[in-house]
């Protein structure tokens, strides 16, 4: 098997890369997992059709805003939806089904530590390692399918968190039907415990950390030595596993054994004690990643200011997502929807300019020059639209014709 020369394309790649062996492996495992889960979930639907339908409805209400929130966390470059949905499918179908196959590790724990320890700690010892590894494997396959889409740590977080969301969704349905009885009342009880009280924590965070580790490892190949990247990647994966371990363990367990009356109100508090540390850690990591993204953008585009791809005023807008959104809204109000879309396109191409600038060896690299020209042509097209004289554009730069 020989290495293959690959163009480092800056075009957005979709999930469907037919020249990548990883795509076929990914697709086969998702298809297999989908079949397994279909059989399991179909059997569970026999318990209660109404409970089953209610489960999916409630989880859709939870998963949709979480999906949108995570997807929009990437400040500068939203990930291709096909890859994001691919991550979701891996978590929901492949990782869950593969995890169900990996049940022998419980027996290992019993054999090594005895039944009493296994009964109390088994779920905390086996599930985190098994599940985080299987979910992480999917993120790695996504990277192997579309390497260009893993530009930084944030990209890894997005794919990891969405993968975790898919896993949590299917796991919750299994719990609602199999553990909480599957009746509508049982489903509501399960939804209160597993989503309302604890939905902020869990798989989304754990696998988000794993994804961050993968994103860091693959996106810092030039800037950081292998040893450093390995330490960070393994460290973030370990944090996800430890967070999962604490979540499943009897540690910090303040949950009422049989909640009744006011006890139900203590349930979210009990979960918060376990889950808040990981949530705060992830928020800190995201803040650092956002800062890193902003620093990268500044560093990449500072050398472009003398050229026609971007001006200082445009960079000031570009580096702040809120300012970008304001500028697009203002353009839409001033000059119509096509102008608003074109400004958004210009912003995206200026991000692409930053990526190119960070990759090429010289400032007169043909690809970089071509991208500058493209940004200038977009600006010219925008300037030609009546009413589109935005304050973000400095006068006279790049005006053609």
């Amino acid at each position: 098997m020989s290495d293959r020369v690959r163009h480092a394309s800056l075009h957005h790649r979709s999930l469907f890369q037919f020249g990548e062996p990883a795509f076929y492996v990914f697709g086969a495992l998702v298809a297999w997992g989908g079949l397994q889960m279909f059989l399991v979930l179909a059997a569970l639907s026999d318990i209660s059709r109404s409970g089953w339908a209610l489960s999916w409805l409630l989880l859709a209400l939870y998963a949709t805003p979480v999906f949108v929130l995570v997807y929009r966390l990437d400040l500068y470059e939203r990930e291709p939806l096909s890859l994001v949905f691919g991550a979701f499918a891996w978590g929901a179908l492949a990782a869950t089904s593969l995890s169900l196959q990996a049940v022998g590790w419980d027996q290992v724990v019993v054999s090594l530590f005895g039944p009493e320890v296994a009964a109390r700690w088994g779920a905390a010892i086996t599930a985190p390692l098994v599940e985080e590894t299987l979910k992480g494997a999917g993120i790695v396959l996504l990277y192997l399918i579309a390497r260009d889409e893993f530009d930084d740590t944030m990209d890894g977080f997005v794919y990891g968190a969405i993968c975790g969301l898919g896993f949590a969704l299917v796991e919750d349905v299994l719990y609602f039907m199999a553990v909480f009885g599957g009746t509508p009342a049982g489903v509501l009880q399960g939804f209160y415990l597993r989503v309302i009280s604890s939905g902020l924590y869990g798989h989304v965070l754990f696998t988000g950390l794993t994804g961050m580790g993968i994103g860091y490892f693959v996106s810092r190949r030039v800037a950081r030595p292998l040893a450093t990247r390995l330490k960070v990647a393994i460290g973030l994966f370990a944090l996800g596993v430890v967070g999962h371990f604490i979540w499943n363990s009897p540690l910090l367990e303040f949950m009422p054994a049989q909640p009744t009356g006011v006890g139900w109100l203590l349930v979210p508090v009990a979960f918060a004690v376990k889950g808040m540390p990981v949530l705060l850690l992830v928020l800190l990591a995201l803040r650092l990643a956002h800062g890193q993204e902003r620093s990268w953008l500044d560093a990449s585009l500072s050398g472009e200011l003398p050229h026609e791809g971007i001006s200082a005023e445009e960079l000031a807008v570009l580096r702040e997502p809120k300012a970008r959104r304001r500028a697009v809204r203002a353009m839409r109000t001033r000059a119509g929807r096509p102008a608003g879309r074109l400004l958004g396109r210009l912003h995206r191409e200026q991000i692409t300019l930053a990526m190119l600038a960070s990759r090429v060896a010289t400032p007169d690299d043909p690809s970089l020059v071509a991208q500058r020209d493209y940004c200038r042509s977009l600006r010219d097209a925008l300037a030609a639209i009546p009413g589109a004289a935005p304050p973000a554009f400095s006068g006279g730069r790049g005006s053609g014709g």
């Binding site: 098997m1 290495d3 293959r4 020369v5 690959r6 163009h7 480092a8 394309s9 800056l10 075009h11 990548e20 062996p21 990883a22 492996v25 495992l29 059997a43 026999d46 318990i47 593969l98 196959q101 990996a102 049940v103 022998g104 590790w105 419980d106 027996q107 290992v108 724990v109 019993v110 054999s111 090594l112 039944p115 296994a118 009964a119 590894t133 299987l134 494997a137 790695v140 396959l141 192997l144 390497r147 199999a178 009885g181 009746t183 049982g186 096509p338 074109l342 396109r345 190119l356 990759r359 090429v360 690299d365 043909p366 690809s367 071509a370 991208q371 493209y374 042509s377 097209a381 639209i385």
Partner: protein, 192 residues
């Protein structure tokens, strides 16, 4: 007049990076294979057989873990679980009688007391792993809060009169997923 949106530039020809295609994919597959398939091998390698009251001995199927055992009023009880499925084993020393009588006794004093409503299936002859004749029947029990459980009971009496009951159960709709494991464990039972 609408200004046409310029076309995208061609892919940057200067950006080339050699990347391995197959080796990392194989590494990922090997990891997945170890985490899933390796569990059974390692589990089998380190698993210990389950013993109860010096009478019953069998190897738990992969993923089945012992979650409790007790001795009370002369009865030796053991519970194994895998997910939501369970296997309850009880040994009744000096029980005497036949496997059929033990099956009826368990239905009356075990299942009918445990569930608010229980439907017992027809009993049929069966054989445990070491050739000991046994009786088998299925049941569906509904608890007071409406949760339905389905199960299979196998009873046997050893030559010295010790009664053994195996009750494999799961929430309704899920027993099929566990039945192969339950069958494998019972086929490997060694009664002394």
């Amino acid at each position: 007049m609408r200004t046409p949106i310029p076309d995208r530039p061609d892919e940057a020809p200067s950006q080339r990076r050699r990347e391995r295609k197959w080796l990392p994919v194989l590494a990922v597959l090997a990891t997945i294979a170890f985490v899933t398939g390796g569990a059974a091998s390692v589990g089998d390698a380190v698993s210990r057989p389950v013993r109860l009251a010096e009478t019953v001995r069998f190897d738990p199927a992969p993923g089945w873990i012992e979650v409790g055992r007790r001795v009370e009023e002369g009865l030796h009880e053991l519970l194994l679980q895998r997910g939501s499925a369970g296997l309850y084993v009880v040994v009744l020393p000096e029980e005497g009688g036949t496997a059929v009588e033990l099956a009826e006794s368990y239905a009356s004093f075990g299942l009918r007391r445990q569930y608010a409503r229980v439907t017992i299936g027809d009993a049929e002859a069966a054989t445990l792993g070491d050739g000991v004749p046994a009786v088998r029947y299925g049941y569906v029990g509904v608890s007071t809060d409406g949760v339905a459980t389905e199960g299979v009971v196998v009873t046997a009496v050893t030559p010295d009169g010790t009664g053994v009951v195996f009750d494999g159960f799961a929430p309704q709709g899920e027993l099929a997923a566990a039945i192969d494991d339950l069958g494998a464990m019972l086929e490997g039972v060694d009664l002394t």
